[in-house]
């Protein structure tokens, strides 16, 4: 298997009025291409911070993050934005949909930067919405969709750019158990069928079981990896 992400001695410290908080403490790990990684741990263990640093949303205080040999820890803001645009999809607990845009308009947002024609954007977005089973909900606004459907729109938006990695932060946190299973099964499906690497932060042991690799964080350190 090929390494897609490699982390060496990663630390992230925040300034706080009570002193410095060490969210990640000397973390090293490797992620294989096509794997489904679940990151678990108690609240405040640094799992979301790890997700943010690996996805280029925040910079580490020290250490290296290598994405296909490219060092993200020294990349500029512009380079990080380009990295996210070209390689990364996000699925968030709160869905992160723009409320005044329809399902297809939300999915089309990442394509606005890629120079596609309007017809191409329409076709790509429709196809990916069909993939997540929402071909009949293209012109629905988020408020007109159920929580599960909103999360599927978010997944479609994450997939529309054909990313190498999808980062998911508590993707089932706002869903009931049956919807959670449905979304997780779908993520597992795209991981296997499209060979997209998935890194998922979750506090749920059931959700974590969908991952092929499980990393448990405690106090900013890797407690276990299976």
């Amino acid at each position: 298997m090929t390494k897609i992400l490699s982390v060496q001695n990663l630390s992230k410290k925040y300034d706080h009025r009570d002193g410095i908080v060490c969210a990640l403490d000397d973390v090293s790990l490797s992620i294989e291409k096509g794997s489904f990684v679940s990151i678990t741990g108690p609240s405040g263990s640094g799992k979301t911070t790890l997700l943010l640093t690996l996805s280029g949303l925040i910079r580490p205080s020290s250490g290296k993050i290598l994405f296909k040999e490219k060092d993200l820890s020294t990349a500029s803001d512009k380079e990080l934005a380009a990295f996210r645009k070209e390689n990364v999809g996000f699925v968030m607990q709160n869905f992160s949909l723009i409320p005044y845009m329809t399902a297809i308009q939300n999915v089309m947002i990442p394509l606005g930067l890629n120079g596609y024609s309007s017809a191409q954007k329409q076709a790509l977005s429709s196809a990916v919405l069909e993939l997540v089973g929402l071909e009949n909900r293209l012109s629905h606004y988020p408020r007109e969709l159920s929580a599960g459907q909103q999360q599927r729109v978010a997944i479609a938006r994450a997939l529309v750019n054909k990313p190498s990695v999808v980062f998911a932060d508590e993707p089932t946190g706002n869903l009931d158990p049956s919807l959670s299973s449905e979304i997780l099964a779908f993520m597992q499906k795209i991981n296997k069928e499209l060979s997209i690497t998935i890194l998922m932060v979750t506090h749920s042991p059931q959700a974590a079981n969908y991952g092929s690799v499980k990393i448990n964080l405690v106090d900013g350190k890797i407690d276990s990896q299976t």
């Binding site: 943010l52 947002i109 932060d169």
Partner: protein
């Protein structure tokens, strides 16, 4: 989905915010356009009419305002018509022609107009007591050179431009272009003013002055209509330039007590000062609107970006660079500036159109170049106001949309 579409969709979401954001800039631009329209049209009218009028003299009651030549006699106090006789019988050298008038605002069929009574030249000449005066003899022509206004022109328009008329029947009237359009009346038709029926003898072509809104009728007919008998509100005199230089004005003042005797030049000079004052006011307004407009737009965008922090975070998370966030906000500010400029211009033209006849005695026509200036100024103000909020918005972290970090 491109950036333009993103901006467009967002603008449609917060219409009341958008309206209040544009309001200040629209009002400011509107006021500037109104002031500039009035002063520009006024300056043009002064220039055109100065050429037409020559060295005229205006006799007004002592209390009349002289800041606007074209409207000076409107609603002015009155003085006896007998003063005309005094001038004619005084043997003053250099009085080429004169035209006593009585002017009041009237309303006909809901249209606000100006009614001016004017004494035609043939009636002045027909009075035996004035026959031997120098007014209608040939000596003035010899002294001043040939004066085209002495030619018999009947109801020709130029004659009214020179503020006199050769003949006018007691039941006739002459109507300015704008007044005729507003009353929807044609030559040869009848018009009723306060139960007096008048025959429309002539429609005047457009002059760009308050004369466009005037109805001219015989002085004595107008005196009867208004119930102001044997009184006039102004006497306009075609004076010989040389005679004015030789002290004609002071001689007139001696024989016409309780009046204000002034030349067109003096009045025009006052009007030019008024125009300059309006230009200064518009400059002050410009400075105020630059500050108030920028702050208003800035305040709107500031509130807007704080409300949209999550959306901006989503865009940044997906991979939109800081420059795209700048671009979105600048595009939005430009759009607001464009709308503010166009609406402000239209608003200003409406104000000028409505107030022009009252404050400057002229009918205002839109000045197209001001539209371009309005748009450019409005966009500039919007951009100034948007720079700081755009800079802050671009600094929002891409994970601003996440619940827990």
């Amino acid at each position: 989905m491109n950036l333009l579409k993103l901006v467009w969709l967002e603008l449609g979401q917060r219409k009341s915010q958008l309206f209040s954001g544009i309001l200040a800039i629209t009002l400011g631009i509107g006021v500037i356009v109104a002031i500039r329209s009035i002063s520009l049209v006024s300056e043009k009218a002064v220039a055109v009419n100065l050429d037409n009028l020559g060295a005229n003299i205006l006799v007004l009651p002592q209390g009349a305002g002289v800041d606007n030549y074209y409207a000076a006699d409107i609603d002015a106090p009155t003085f006896p018509e007998e003063y005309v006789e005094r001038i004619v019988t005084s043997d003053l050298a250099g009085v080429d022609n004169l035209s006593p008038k009585l002017t009041r605002r009237i309303t006909i069929n809901g249209q606000k107009l100006v009614l001016t009574g004017i004494l035609p030249k043939n009636e002045l000449a027909s009075k035996p007591i004035w026959q031997n005066s120098g007014l209608f003899g040939s000596t003035l022509n010899a002294a001043c050179g040939k004066n085209p206004s002495n030619e018999t022109l009947g109801y020709k328009d130029e004659k009214l431009q020179r503020k006199s008329i050769d003949s006018l029947g007691m039941a006739d009237c002459i109507i300015g272009s704008n007044a005729a359009a507003r009353l929807n009346i044609r030559e040869g038709e009848k018009i009723i003013i306060d139960s007096t029926q008048l025959h429309v003898a002539k429609l005047l072509s457009e002059t760009g002055t308050i004369d466009d809104d005037r109805i001219f009728a015989h002085l004595h007919t107008v005196q009867n209509i208004l119930g102001i008998h044997d009184q006039v509100s102004a006497i306009e005199i075609m004076g010989c330039c040389n005679a004015i230089s030789d002290g004609l004005l002071s001689k007139l003042r001696n024989i016409l007590p309780d009046t204000k005797v002034t030349t067109i030049g003096q009045i025009v000079s006052t009007q030019i000062k008024t125009n300059q004052l309006m230009n200064q006011i518009s400059l002050i307004m410009l400075i105020i609107i630059v500050f108030v407009g920028s702050i208003s737009i800035g305040n709107y965008l500031w509130a807007n970006i704080n409300e949209r922090k999550k959306e901006i975070g989503i865009l940044r998370m997906i991979g939109y660079p800081k420059s795209s966030i700048y671009y979105i906000l600048i595009l939005k500010a430009t759009f607001m500036g464009l709308v503010g400029g166009v609406v402000g211009y239209l608003f200003g033209v409406m104000i000028a159109w409505f107030l022009g006849p009252y404050v400057a005695g002229i009918n205002i026509v839109p000045v197209p170049i001001l539209l371009l200036w309005s748009i450019l100024l409005s966009i500039l103000i919007s951009l100034m106001g948007s720079l700081l909020p755009a800079w802050f918005a671009a600094r929002f972290e891409p994970y601003s949309n996440m619940q827990e970090v």
